[in-house]
Amino acid sequence: MKKVFKIVSLMLVSALILSGCNKVELEESPEGILSPDSFFRTADDFEAMLAGGVYRPLYTPWSGFGFNAIFVLTGGGEDIGLNQIRFQAFDRLEADGITGEMADMWAQLYRSISNANTVIGSIEKGRQAGVSEDILKNAEAQARFMRAFDYFYMTRWWGEVQLITEENTLEATTTPQSSVEEIYELIVSDLQFAEANLPNLTDPSGTGLASKQAAQAYLAKVYLTMAGWPIKDASKYALARDKAKEVIDSGIFSLEPDFAQLWRQANRFTNSEFIFAFHGDVNNVPSTQHLNTRYNAAGEGGWSDVSSEVRFFEAFPDSYRKDASFTSVFANGQTFQEAGAKPHIAKYRDAGDVYPFDANSGGASGDASFNLFRYAEVLLIYAEAANMAEGSPSATALEAINKVRRRAHNLPVDTPDPSVDLPAGMSQSAFDEAVLDERAWELAFEGKRWFDLVRREMVIEANADTWDNVTETDRLLAKPDAQVTLLEGYLEQNPGY
């Protein structure tokens, strides 16, 4: 018995010791982790990097265009008011170099740029792996479109920034910032490449990806911006006009007859007006659109982070469009005046499903879309650029803006109506003023007004009555202090900060 026990135990221990023989691997070979070296071998690889690396940083929970861009973009414009103390610095044009929302946008834009550079830099790798030229061309065009998109926002917010075009590199730490002209040069060439290589937008459900028309629309907007502050190259008005015309002439887009319906969640993939947008998906893909947040009382139950401003509401001409743009009467029947609140935003009230909170509050993921470019703006760019390029409003320019005005009153878009149409024979300046106003009303809460104020040098004029601290240097944001410190000698803080 004893002997049996001995043998059994010895065998057991020996077996365990033998089976326990470790093979040590000091070089790591991660089995569940993707390495950049072995990626970009299929079309899907390129699409995945575009989705996750280039687009997603811009529309992601509590960050990017769904959240922080709203505060940065809209704070200084009169269309949007910010109600929480932590965001109000933007409203008051007091945001400084440590403001977190601003710093987040800086980081997310560079993240998107860096991933776009990686896609562009990996084209050759894909070619060697046998990915088709069509796919590669499309991937490069998509990446360059988004890189232009990112730098366009960067230079409008911060002016001179580092222009990084190489694949993901630590050399960025010693690259000096570029002039605004150099940045626009890259933006234009990227958009031209995109225009030449992207397909037409054939299906309204395709607005989530860049198309030839999206590239043209952005080129028009970029030229229009270059004509204004700070580059002030008036020759660009004609280029803006022509690019806008190309979009109009494509025949792909038209104004939705009913302005209110344009903002219904159900119509986001079928309307004839969107050109480029970020589209959320509550199922599985976290994304957020915080402009939908409602008032936090009067039966509304939201965060009330974002609302409109009373001065903007009062200046806004009465119209069908006004009713569809504002929540001036709350769920319990109180007007905003009665509730002692500001008018809130109606455009984005229908936000589809939101998780984990509800549509009133906003959440980490939601169905809501953030429209970035739609046909009405193309019409208004045409009107503005043609008028400025030609010295007076042409009939085409007049018709372009009048289409928008008719739709605002829920009238047939293509039928002239003297009750709302701008008359022929206006002076260049009167027409220009009318176009800028129209842009404010039509594109309210869409993140456009602030940039209009900047490029047309109206920041002081628009805000002086409300915020007496406003100065010319407020046209640019402060660069993130932490980045300026890290890049001392290469990145300079903007004047006034």
Partner: protein, 1034 residues
């Protein structure tokens, strides 16, 4: 001869030792063991018939014969052993030979024969040799030979408090060891810090080694299973664990069978647990009245009519603490069977623990078995199989958070609300009374369900082979597998039951650990004065971890909870896998001269897979010396000082703060995007740049200590001073974001800990009937950040735990970890200070906030260092009194000088909108007639910063009667009649008395540790426990 060759080979070439050891451990088989067995023969030479024969007797100091004593002719290998009666006979080469007589535990003697044919020798007891043996990691040492800082905690001390977990029992028992019961949950987290916190971002938990198996979980060990418990503290002791030893090492040896006699021990207790202390909250009437007042002060309508207020005063309301807390019961059964036959010994322990939580719907249950078997194959080979199996189920609740924590909700919910409405549904938040985004406490406790299952499987076989006298090979394998399954289902009933939001999270996974250790130890004594022990080791460790998680929401029905995720509309799935390899060589030399001067040199080289490609391996050396002054002639005969040792050590030890794959370039997955309302799988560059230079953190430690015993061990004293500098700390430094990365993890920065430890023990009263034994430990640690990243003097860590506290936690050079910044709070402006108050825009009744930058306004510029979570010192004082069959244990423990950020007061003390104050402090708010208070008037919260101010910092010092227990052991006469060998019955009270100014549930509460230590936000409250227990041995 094979053996000799092997020995020579082993002695001559250390690299070959490793190889041989490796080969041996991988290839040992019963067959080879039998071959080695052949060599088990005596070394004694045949006597020459012409020579002289001497015989004699060896006696001990009491005149009793010593059987088995060694008698050797000096200068030869000629020798013999005494027989059962202590007699021997030996043929010598010369009449003038000298006999060397030795016996374990006695001083060796040399006796000249001088031609006598009979010799009688009386041996003297060697007090040093009878020294206690201490486990030191990869071996044992006599206490006198120890040069490092090692605290031994006796098994009896650990068993003094009726607790089923040794980590909880460790508090206050060892100097230099700080133990914090950060929550009172049934499966609570216990934080152990040995000589302070070294690391900012890395782990500060000590390495736990159970029966040689590294990385074991200490909370699974029942104190009754412990044979010995050692804490390695200084570099000399810990550097044998190289890159894993910097945070100190806890060595636990579990019981193994000892005798041929079968012993059955049964330990059990039943305990009742009660909330230690309720927070002082307002009753319904007070709440309603004050809410009316605070809403009015903020310009809102009063929610209650005077009649309603009167009604609440008359009829009362809901005491939410009573609703979610209960008296709960715990029980533990521990059965131990130990014994053995010839050459085989076993110890079999079974344990069952059931802890009900004092929060409704919480509890923890575990079963475990620990079979340890030892087989002596022959005189040379011993085989051991230690195993451990555990099955546990934990039902936790949400703690340390807001919105969904029942404990937090209970502290802020309106007592005017009922638990249930008339239709039987839960009352909901909002409605103009109470908080809007925190939910019904009872609903939060009962509705979301959580069940975390965990199984541990450990096999720990080892073999020990004495190759020649003094040279022992040890081979050990540890295989440990841990399977876990965490289930969570939230029916969203507390939130109103929106079906889309019904969700389940199921996480399951497995970790395995395989450790191979091959070790050679050579121990010898030559010329009677030189003690030498050499240890060489080769070891490999491989850890694998994988987990899968499904996150589902939008359940059609609550009927199947997490058991059928197919009922969910949406499912997000993720999985991960990782591996960590470590290959080590270690060598250690202990040398002692006459047991007076002792030196230990240790070096370990660790190569780890997780380190960056340019820094794959590190070397961790240490050296230490000790002087046993009491063995010097001038103290040898002292009646006062029975032992006195001075020791000093220095060494560098590592910590593997790096996680697997951290140094590599990777693409980040799970970064999906929607282009058209459906999902596109996305990948992206990581935010963190790779770093091929990433490596371990290094702690350089200097240690000085004195160990002393007086009056033959009646009193003992240990004093130690240490200084630890941890450099190459893992810090995330910001990168220019234009690079595409945000940060990079690098080795930079330095933290220092220095401190003093004191241990005093003594048998104060020793008599036949009455004894008083006392032990006092004191630990004082001073922590300081010496350097951060280049050019960086401070770093924001982040949020304390509630919105608005983003700017609270900091690291600053020159300050300790656990630093708080905020605006200093100096009370409330009185009416007589109106002019001064006006300078910063305040009126009497407003909080008196310190305008640090003198700007005339209270703003972000006034943030200064306002406190830190580091304690000045902690202590434990243990007293055991015995009188005849009775024993009384009184254990007092405490901490002094730390601060706690009592974060939940931000909500309980501060009325905001319809969320009224719930704390009774609100009754003491400033009014023109109540000037002498530090509670500001209602409505001042809107005018001044409230979230990040010193008002919420409290002194966390406390003194606690951790344990008072009274036991009675029945006398042998009674036991004989019952045929049992011992029987003890005891009553114990845990946490009965706590002296503290802290106003939260418990001064030990902490949601975070180290740099985030000392924040109390809805932690699981501690308990007073009353225990009835029985220890019986058959």
């Amino acid at each position: 001869m094979k053996k000799t060759k092997l020995t020579k080979l082993l002695a001559s070439n250390p690299i070959k030792i490793r190889l041989l050891s490796l080969i041996f451990i991988c290839c040992a088989s019963p067959m080879q063991a039998e071959i080695f067995d052949e060599n088990n023969k005596s070394n004694i030479e045949k006597p020459n018939a012409l020579q002289f024969t001497v015989s004699g007797t060896i006696l001990d100091d009491a005149g009793q014969p010593l059987p088995g004593a060694n008698v050797i002719e000096k200068g030869t290998t000629n020798g013999t052993q005494t027989d059962f009666d202590g007699n021997f006979s030996l043929t010598l080469s010369s009449r003038n030979a000298v006999l060397q007589v030795s016996y374990i535990g006695f001083v060796p003697q040399e006796v000249p024969v001088n031609g006598n044919s009979t010799v009688s020798v009386t041996m003297e007891v060697d007090s040093q040799a009878l020294d206690e043996v201490v486990v030191v990691g990869y071996g044992t040492q006599r206490r006198s030979q120890i040069t490092g800082a090692i605290s031994s905690v006796s098994a009896e001390d650990l068993q003094a408090i009726p607790l089923a977990r040794v980590d909880q029992a460790l508090q206050g028992r060892a100097a230099g060891v700080f133990v914090q019961n950060a929550t009172g949950a049934p499966n609570s987290e216990v934080r152990i810090r040995i000589r302070g916190s070294n690391s900012i971002n890395g782990d500060n938990d000590p390495l736990v080694v159970i029966d040689g198996a590294q990385g074991a979980s200490i909370n699974s060990v029942n104190p009754n299973d412990i044979e010995s418990f050692e804490v390695l503290k200084d570099a000399s002791a810990t550097s044998i664990y190289g890159s894993r030893g910097a945070n100190g090492v806890i060595l636990i040896t579990t019981k193994s069978g000892k005798t041929n006699k079968t012993t059955v021990t049964y330990n059990t207790y039943l305990a009742a647990n009660k909330l230690r202390k309720k927070r002082d909250l307002l009753n319904a009437g007070q709440y309603a009245e004050l809410l009316n007042e605070s809403t009015e002060a903020q310009g809102f309508a009063q929610p209650f009519t005077p009649e309603e207020v009167a009604g609440y005063y008359a009829n009362g309301g809901t005491d939410w603490q009573d609703e979610i807390f209960r008296t709960s019961f715990s029980q533990n059964h521990h059965l131990n069977i130990s014994g053995g036959a010839e050459n085989v010994r076993y110890n079999l322990a079974g344990d069952y623990l059931k802890n009900e939580g004092i929060v409704i719907n919480t509890g923890y249950e575990r079963w475990s078995v620990r079979p340890n078997i030892t087989v002596d194959v022959n005189d040379k080979i011993q085989v051991t199989l230690n195993s451990f199996f555990q099955w546990s189920t934990d039902k936790p609740t949400q703690i340390n958070g807001f919105n969904t924590s029942p404990i937090f909700s209970a502290s802020i919910w309106s007592p005017t609300k009922p638990v249930y409405l008339e239709d039987g549904s839960y009352s909901m938040p909002g409605g103009g009374v109470g908080p809007n985004t925190d939910f019904n406490p009872v609903a939060l406790a009962l509705e979301p369900i959580r069940e975390n299952k965990n199984n541990i499987f450990t096999l720990n076989p080892s073999v020990s082979y004495e190759i020649i006298d003094g040279l022992v090979f040890d081979g050990r394998v540890t295989y440990r597998a841990t399977d876990f399954e965490n289930n969570f289902y939230d029916n969203q009933v507390p939130q109103g039951g929106v079906p889309l939001n019904r969700r389940a999270i199921v996480t399951d996974g497995r970790s395995t650990y395989l450790q191979n250790t091959a070790q050679l130890t050579y121990e010898t004594n030559f010329n009677d004065v030189h003690d030498l022990k050499v240890t060489a080791l080769y070891e490999t460790q491989v850890e694998n971890f994988n987990q899968n998680q499904i996150n589902a929401n939008g359940f059609l029905t609550d009927a199947a909870t997490w058991n059928n995720l197919g009922l969910a509309e949406n499912r997000q799935v993720s999985s991960s896998i990782s591996r960590r390899d470590l290959e080590s060589f270690m060598g250690r030399i202990n040398y002692g001269y006459k047991d007076r001067y002792i030196i230990t040199l240790t070096g370990r080289r660790d190569a780890s897979s997780v380190f960056g490609a340019n820094n794959k391996s590190g070397f961790f050396p240490s050296g230490s010396i000790a002087w046993n002054v009491s063995n010097e002639n001038f103290l040898k005969d002292s009646n006062v000082i029975s032992n006195l040792k001075f020791r000093a050590s220095y060494g560098e030890v590592g910590s593997q703060a790096v996680g697997p794959y951290t140094s590599l370039a990777q693409l980040q997955t799970g970064s999906n995007f929607s282009f058209d309302g459906t999902q596109t799988i996305g990948v992206a560059l990581t935010n963190r740049a790779p770093n091929p230079n990433l490596k371990w953190e290094t702690t350089a430690q200097t240690d000085f200590g004195i160990d002393a015993e007086f009056f033959n061990g009646r009193f003992d004293l240990t004093v130690a001073y240490y200084k630890k500098n941890t450099r190459d700390l893992l810090l995330e430094i910001p990168l220019a974001q234009s690079s595409g990365f945000r940060t990079q993890l690098v080795n930079i920065g330095e933290v220092q800990n220095k401190g003093i430890e004191l241990l005093i023990g003594g048998n104060i009263i020793q008599s036949d009937d009455f004894n008083w034994r006392t032990n006092f430990t004191l630990t004082s640690n001073d922590n300081e950040v010496l350097a951060l990243a280049e050019g960086q003097t401070e770093q924001l860590i982040g949020n304390a735990g509630l919105p608005g506290t983003d700017n609270t936690r900091w690291l600053e050079v020159g300050q300790p970890l656990g630093l708080w910044r905020g605006i200093r709070y100096d009370g409330v402006w009185g009416t007589d200070e109106a002019a001064e108050a006006a300078e910063i825009g305040a009126v009497p009744g407003d909080p008196k906030l310190f305008d640090a930058d003198g700007s005339g306004a209270i703003d972000a510029g006034d943030n200064i260092n306002i406190g830190n979570a580091q304690e000045d010192y902690s202590f434990g004082w243990d007293n055991t009194f015995t009188y005849k069959g009775f024993d009384l244990n009184v254990f007092i423990q405490g901490v002094q000088g730390n601060q706690i950020y009592n974060l939940s007061r931000l909500r309980t003390d501060l009325p905001s909108g319809t969320t009224g104050a719930t704390s009774v402090d609100a009754l003491n708010r400033w009014t023109p007639t109540n000037q002498n208070t530090d509670v500001p008037t209602f409505g001042s919260g809107e005018r001044f910063p409230q979230t990040n101010i010193g008002r919420w910092l409290e002194d966390g010092s406390y003194i606690r009667f951790k344990n008072i227990s009274l036991g009675y052991s029945f006398s042998p006469s009674v036991l004989d009649a019952l045929k049992i060998s011992s029987f003890r019955l005891y009553l114990a009270g845990t946490n009965l008395i706590t002296i503290t100014d802290y106003t939260g549930y418990d001064p030990e509460a902490s949601t975070g540790s180290d740099r985030n230590a000392g924040v109390d936000l809805a932690t699981y409250p501690s308990q007073k426990t009353y225990t009835l227990g029985i220890d019986v041995t058959f």
